[in-house]
């Protein structure tokens, strides 16, 4: 096994992950990116999506939403508003959220209500990301 990088996922309710891993894949601003050990210092915003990391044969996924990530000194830190593992996700609730968001989106499209549309879009993204992680 080669070198590892320390992964930290910090949310407002405490640190979620703190361990050495082989590779981290995350949804960055310009698309997904992977980070290996000894990556150059790097700072990127994070979109709503799935964070995966591998440690040996173990492969874990987390649903993360809004925040940013920083890589320095062989350490990658995610500062996100929420991070949930597949087992923690309430699939039914996410399904309901998805339907609700889709309905709102349809309504907002008729009224050209930008504020509500933006909100519904974000809610929909979040619900979809949750479902994706839960189904892994």
């Amino acid at each position: 096994m080669g070198q590892q990088i320390r992964l930290e996922v910090v949310t407002p309710t405490g640190a979620k992950v703190n361990e050495d891993v082989d590779i981290v894949n995350a949804p960055g601003y310009g698309g997904d990116f992977g980070v290996l050990a000894n990556h150059a210092p790097f700072l990127s915003t994070i979109k709503i999506g799935t964070l995966t990391y591998e440690n040996g044969k173990k492969r874990e996924s987390l649903m993360i939403s809004g925040g940013f990530c920083e890589v320095s000194n062989n350490k990658i830190t995610f500062l996100v508003e929420s991070a949930e593992a597949g087992s923690e996700i309430d699939v039914e609730r996410a399904m309901r959220a998805k339907e609700r968001a889709e309905k709102r989106l349809a309504q907002a499209a008729q009224q050209t209500d930008n504020f509500n549309r933006r909100r519904a879009e974000i809610a929909l993204q979040r619900a979809l990301a949750r479902l994706k992680v839960a189904n892994r």
């Binding site: 910090v10 309710t13 405490g14 960055g28 601003y29 700072l43 809004g66 508003e81 504020f115 909100r119």
Partner: protein, 289 residues
């Protein structure tokens, strides 16, 4: 002179009150622990956030970001964060007092003032000023980030469309279990975060930014607002329970004092009754002789 029965009822009533306040004290103590844990959990997040913000905003031109724009202040919005429930001493009253003071101060300068109330108590007390624009109830109990996000988004939108030029948060700062002070924190425009001394050295200028550092700031600022609101909510949450703990402890002690005094009164009355009965009996016996 109170009759024996009256005093007795009063004693048992006060004792029951003491029982309730004692229980509330214990509940508050347990809840305080939970709230303090939440604060502990939140601290690494804020610390990291402030660090990143100061790294980024160091050389930034403040007027380049709409959320940082310093405008001529015509309308001020005060976000008053209080608890949902009362019975916690002067905790909420102090926050409200500060809010009213600020209102008078800003209005004296000819500025328009509006309130946004987070927590039920603030609304109840500020309702009569007729300046409450929005209120959020029942958000203090569970501390969810999405509440903070909702509030922050609303405030930011109002700032961006020019309805308000300056937003401040008023909340009860939790200094220790026995000390909570009302505090004001600037909210909007976003203040550039000054790097603390010593932290200066850690800044490495050769980060790869994706996208550019300015665009990252654009994303970070709304998040930073959420963090601030959430922080205020946590402080108030912990402060509320601490204040209630002290208030209920005082109430229990006061009840004990009252019971003590009433017992003295009760015993005096009982003795007086015994003496007068004895006098009667003795008098009756004398008359029979």
């Amino acid at each position: 002179m109170a009759t024996l029965k009256e005093v007795k009822t009063k004693i048992s009533g006060v004792k029951k009150t003491a029982q309730i306040t004692k229980a509330m004290n214990m509940v508050a103590a347990a809840k305080l622990r939970g709230a303090q844990e939440k604060m502990e959990d939140f601290r690494p997040y804020t610390a990291k956030f402030v660090e990143a913000m100061s790294n980024l905003s160091g050389g930034a031109n403040t007027n380049a970001f709409p959320l940082m724009e310093n405008r001529d202040v015509k309308a001020v919005e005060l976000v008053v964060v209080t608890s949902d429930r009362g019975l916690c001493g002067s905790f909420n009253a102090n926050i409200i007092k500060l809010a009213l003071q600020k209102m008078v101060e800003y209005e004296g300068q000819g500025k328009k003032v509006s309130f946004v109330c987070v927590g039920k108590k603030g609304y109840q007390l500020l309702r009569k000023t007729d300046k409450v624009r929005k209120r959020y109830n029942e958000t203090m109990g569970n501390f969810q980030m999405f509440h903070a996000r909702e509030i922050a988004t609303d405030l930011a939108d109002n700032f961006l469309n020019g309805t308000t030029d300056k937003v401040e948060i008023l909340f009860g700062e939790f200094q220790s279990v026995v000390r909570q002070v009302p505090a004001v924190a600037p909210f909007l425009p976003v203040q550039p975060v000054a790097a603390e001394e010593g932290a200066e050295k850690k800044i490495t200028g050769d980060y790869i930014y994706e996208p550019s550092s300015e665009e990252i700031m654009d994303v970070l600022q709304p998040l930073y607002l959420n963090v601030q609101i959430y922080h205020a909510m946590l402080e108030v949450g912990a402060g509320e329970h601490a204040a209630r703990m002290t208030a209920m402890d005082n109430a229990t002690n006061a009840c004990k004092d009252i019971v003590k005094n009433l017992t003295v009164v009760y015993n005096k009355a009982r003795q007086a009754a015994v003496t007068s009965e004895l006098m009667d009996i003795v008098g009756g016996a004398e008359a029979l002789k």
